[in-house]
């Protein structure tokens, strides 16, 4: 039975793990007892300034203990936290503040070359009628009169699993950002359901180089740590040399994030494989010493999205998956149902068939800001995520790209992931990234490939090899050989930047 509200979780951890670090950054560490008392003090201060249950409270701040304190302060009194990306340009920020109906905004005055004090002063407040106040983090206070504390505590007691906990904006890699609403119960259960597979247990020290304002860092990092009674190690800015020192000092046990983030550190001249000796299996493989058998475990690539509050499919990351499930994302966690439907008819497809992914279940998001339920869910509760994939007979999920990546060739839907898998099965190819692209009004298949170390890839040879494995029209006709993974264009969240990839492929004709 998992804890189903954030205030109840904070109280529980203060009791069962008072001295355990909850969050550690370069300058500060906050234990669980301290997280509870300090977030209560901050909440009382906010309550005195008009913050109330149900209010949307924006948080625009770099990763760190202060982020966690402010977030917990808002959520513990039943206010709905709205984490905002520090990367947003002022008009984007204004649009998200309006869409989510943010009432009070807590902001960092300046970070990473941005002067938020000045930028926020320039906001057109008349166009943001909901926004009552902006507080900069250097002017926040704590505490208040006894009646404020009494009300603060009573508000915490009033929070129910059905109350909204957070609005998380998607990063926008698939179009306009959406404000995804999660309840306390839905979010905490969704997160708890994946902790075991993700090996996040009591006492672990988890490092995750992802911003706390998106689902990856918020759900996968902060809430995972609180839910498990683990420690989150976080940095405002990740810079390999500093990160190495930080992780060594803090005795990191789990390193999660995008594979390249681990790879970058592994490539750093200061890094040697025994350096992070506290790291456990289940961390990103690049940083782990090779196993005695000389092979790495077959980890499931976790699959999830903002709407599922982080990973919703996975498999025990320390032991690895059964051999016949290679390439799968594992199985859905409890509280989430998956099904695959035909892209054209919408009818459910049998096991083994690739199609469009739909999800439903108790732990799914509640809704999207400003969007009516019928525009988000089918009548029987399914959400079309826009992802492609298939389920096998045993219920393992195989991701096959985004729906908008699907290439329509000669009236047939072609899945880029299918072509990429075929390419990666060739001895000379380590990684392949496939996309549809338009050239002189014709649709073509393009592929960017990273050769295996020491291998040499010649597009004509690859085309000949592939022709034995794929229908001829699926064989790529535009190629780019990557010199390293860094050359691959990515969005700020680390996803492949599809338009830039097309440009790259078209440029290297």
């Amino acid at each position: 039975m998992s804890i189903e509200t954030l205030p109840a979780l904070l109280a529980l951890r203060a009791e069962d793990s008072p001295g355990v670090d909850a969050v550690v950054d370069h300058d500060q560490r906050v234990g669980y007892a301290e997280l509870d008392t300090r977030s209560r003090e901050r909440a009382a201060w906010l309550v005195a300034r008009g913050v109330n249950k149900g209010h949307r409270v924006g948080l625009l701040m770099e990763n760190g203990c202060e982020w966690a304190l402010n977030a917990c302060a808002a959520m513990r009194i039943g206010a709905t936290l709205v984490p905002l990306s520090t990367l947003l340009k002022p008009p984007e920020l204004a649009a998200q503040l309006a869409l989510a109906g943010v009432r009070q905004l807590v902001a960092t005055p300046a970070f990473h070359g941005r002067d938020y004090r000045a930028e926020l002063a320039d906001l057109d407040r008349a166009a943001l009628p909901s926004l009552a106040a902006v507080y900069f983090s250097d002017e926040l206070g704590d505490g208040g009169t006894p009646d404020r504390f009494a009300v603060t505590d009573a508000l915490a007691d009033s929070v129910r699993p059905g109350d909204d906990m957070v609005v998380i904006f998607t990063s926008g890699s698939g179009g306009t950002p959406r404000g995804v609403i999660h309840t306390h119960g839905g979010a905490l259960r969704a997160n708890a359901a994946g902790l075991e597979a993700r090996c996040i247990r009591r006492g672990e020290r988890l490092y995750l180089p992802m911003p706390l304002f998106w689902a990856g860092g918020f759900a996968g990092g902060l809430v995972s740590a609180l839910n498990a009674g683990a420690t989150l190690l976080t940095e405002a800015i990740a810079e390999p040399a500093q990160t190495l020192g930080f992780l060594q000092r803090e005795q990191v046990t789990l390193f999660r994030g995008w594979p390249d983030q681990a790879a970058q550190i592994a490539l750093h001249p200061d890094f040697h494989p025994r350096q992070l000796e506290t790291l456990k299996p289940g961390s990103l493989p690049a940083l782990l010493p090779a196993s005695p058998h000389g092979e790495r475990t077959r980890q499931a690539s976790l699959f999830g999205m903002t709407e599922t509050f982080g990973p919703c499919c996975g498999y025990a990351m320390d032991t690895g998956m059964p051999a016949d499930k290679a390439g799968s994302c594992g199985k859905p966690f409890a509280g989430i149902e998956l099904r695959i439907v035909d892209p054209d008819s919408g009818e459910p497809l049998p096991a083994g068939k690739t199609g469009c992914l739909q999800l439903r279940g108790r732990n799914l998001f509640r809704g999207i800001c400003g969007r009516e339920r019928e525009d988000t869910f089918t009548a029987d509760g399914w959400f079309a995520s826009g992802d492609l994939g298939r389920l096998d007979e045993d219920g393992f999920f195989y991701f096959a790209g985004r729906g908008d990546d699907m290439i329509k060739l000669r009236g047939v839907s072609v899945f880029p992931a299918e072509i990429a898998n075929a390419l990666e099965s060739l001895a000379s190819v380590q990684r392949a990234f496939v996309t549809g692209l338009e050239l002189e009004g014709q649709l073509h298949v393009g592929a960017a490939i990273l050769p295996e170390p020491g291998a040499y890839c010649v597009p004509l040879e690859l085309e000949r090899e592939l022709a034995t494995r794929l229908t001829s029209f699926k064989v790529p006709s535009r190629w780019h050989v990557l010199s390293s993974l860094e050359e691959l264009p990515r969005t700020p969240t680390g996803k492949v930047d599809r338009p830039a990839l097309c440009a790259l492929l078209l440029g290297s004709a």
């Binding site: 008009g50 249950k53 009628p129 009552a132 007691d157 108790r362 009516e372 029987d380």
Partner: protein, 519 residues
């Protein structure tokens, strides 16, 4: 003089509807006895109040309770709150101080707008008693941790002068309101003592009422007489909001019977709607036969309608089935002419935006008789503070707890409650709530509260007191009146010993037999 263009407002939101209907100017929207509100006044008065609310901190998503009877003050308050995108929480004026506490706490109300008094009830005193404080501003009450401010009456809110800046702030707030935003949390009596707050959005309610206005041909030429209270969904949506959307006139009366009849003769309503038993008193007035109510052509208040419009038998007129969860009426049929005999007792078919089925509760399969299930865009979002899966099944169906039959044509017939809610004179009473109150008032006395069929009220709340001979019924009634709304107080008390209670083979009390026994 050039005017600044107002920001866009979605037509499927309350501010969008209000902006459009304000053009009806001096046409009357609402007449409650001597209290009248025209369309221009509804817009301008609610704008003034909205500006004052905005200045006091009310904004999009704020929860604002409204404790008022049917009146222009209710209308102005509701419109002011919802045009800002704040959430209106109408509360029953029949609520006792204890019931008000439960409602205010359960809905996390941040603000309360209350009438000073209504029909002889001192609501101001009731509010003070309920929150245990004379203070009205800067509230910090641990028992009501979200509550910040109380207004008794609208005077202070209407007194403020409307500056251009304030008007622009209201318009800016209106432009942010989306059809997906919550319009209202309307309360229903639950099967447990905790009432449930039913969430409906702007888009849902407005499209639902537009569709239902088309169904019942409710247009701006009509005048509707209905006394359904605005603090419940029927009066709020099916009377008040549907009138606003139609551009018609709504007539209500809380006056003495003769004055109500005067009002009806003067206002000449064309339609009527409500619970027939509530107008029996009008038809029983001396001189009723000489009254000219010939303007009434349609509706279901048969006792006061002209003879040529009345059914041969009320059971041969299509009934309406309404629920808070379906945003008022969910089953509808043409109610203006008599049904063929084989359709006796029909409730018609689902309204647009609602799909309905009848399911065998044991197998979950479609069945000609069983539990009534509904889903669709016009159904509630859910209950306030509960997760979706606690309100709907995995396929999105809401299990109403009503028992229904469906015929080969797809017409529905109401058979009773799957559960045990008592429906009396249009109100719903939870037996468990009344049993709890009796237990509290008698120091743990056991009782069974049931609905006994009654030709006028539908059901009558009846309490079977177990092994309680010698109980002073008047004292018990007085004690219950401190805790329960008048309509929840048992009209009848019956004494039985535990041995006299009919039981099922499981040893539980057989409620069906018990009802037969005391009927």
């Amino acid at each position: 003089m050039p005017q600044t263009a107002l920001p866009q407002t979605s037509p499927d939101t309350l501010p969008g509807v209000l902006r459009e209907q304000a053009a009806l100017g001096s046409r009357l929207l609402l007449v409650v006895d001597t209290d009248a509100l025209d369309y221009a006044g509804a817009e301008s008065r609610s704008r003034t109040v909205a500006a004052a609310l905005l200045a006091a901190g009310v904004g999009r998503g704020s929860r604002v309770a409204i404790l008022m009877g049917n009146s222009s003050a209710f209308a102005v308050s509701f419109l002011a709150v919802t045009r800002l995108g704040a959430i209106a929480i109408p509360l029953s004026t029949l609520s006792t101080a204890v019931e008000l506490q439960v409602l205010l706490r359960g809905s996390d109300a941040e603000y309360l707008l209350a009438a000073p008094a209504y029909r002889g009830l001192d609501l101001a005193a009731r509010v003070r008693e309920s929150i245990g404080s004379d203070a009205q501003t800067a509230l910090m009450l641990p028992a009501f941790p979200a509550l910040r401010r109380v207004w008794i009456g609208l005077d202070a809110l209407e007194a403020a002068d409307m500056s251009d800046t304030a008007a622009q702030a209201v318009a800016a707030a209106e432009s942010q309101v989306s059809p997906a935003d919550v319009l209202v949390i309307a309360h229903t009596s639950g099967s447990t003592s905790a009432p449930k707050g039913v969430i409906h959005t702007h888009g849902q309610v407005i499209r639902n009422m537009r569709g239902q206005n088309r169904l019942r041909d409710y247009t701006r030429d009509e005048r509707l007489f209905s006394n359904s209270p605005f603090f419940w969904i029927g009066g709020l949506a099916y009377s008040f909001l549907s009138t606003l959307i139609a551009g018609a006139r709504l007539i209500c009366s809380g006056a003495q019977p003769q004055a109500t009849l005067d009002l009806l003769e003067a206002q000449r309503p064309t339609m009527c709607n409500g619970v027939a038993s509530t107008v029996l008193v009008l038809a029983a007035q001396p001189g009723f036969a000489e009254r000219d109510l010939s303007s009434l052509r349609r509706g279901n208040l048969y006792p006061i309608m002209p003879p040529d419009t009345r059914p041969r038998d009320p059971e041969l007129r299509c009934n309406l089935l309404g629920m808070t969860e379906t945003g008022s009426v969910s089953l509808y049929g043409d109610g203006d002419s008599d049904l063929p005999e084989e359709k006796r007792g029909s409730f018609g078919r689902p309204v647009p935006g609602i799909r309905a089925r009848v399911v065998d509760p044991d197998t979950g399969e479609d069945s000609s008789e069983g539990e009534f299930l509904v889903r669709g865009p016009n159904i509630m979002q859910g209950y306030y503070g509960r997760e979706r899966w606690q309100c709907f099944d995995a396929d999105g169906w809401f299990h109403t707890g009503d028992r229904m039959r469906i015929d080969a044509d797809g017409d529905f017939y109401f058979l009773g409650r799957e559960g045990d809610i008592i429906r009396t004179s249009g109100a719903q009473v939870s037996p468990r709530e009344v049993e709890g109150a009796i237990s509290d008032c008698t120091g743990g006395g056991m009782s069974l509260v049931i609905g006994v069929p009654d030709p006028q009220r539908g059901q009558v709340v009846t309490a079977v007191l177990v092994d309680a001979v010698g109980t002073d019924e008047n004292a018990l009634r007085d004690a219950l009146a401190q805790r329960l709304s008048p309509y929840k107080i048992p009209r009848r008390f019956v004494h039985l010993t535990e041995a006299e209670l009919p039981t099922l083979s499981s040893g539980k009390v057989d409620l069906k037999k018990l009802v037969e026994l005391v009927s």
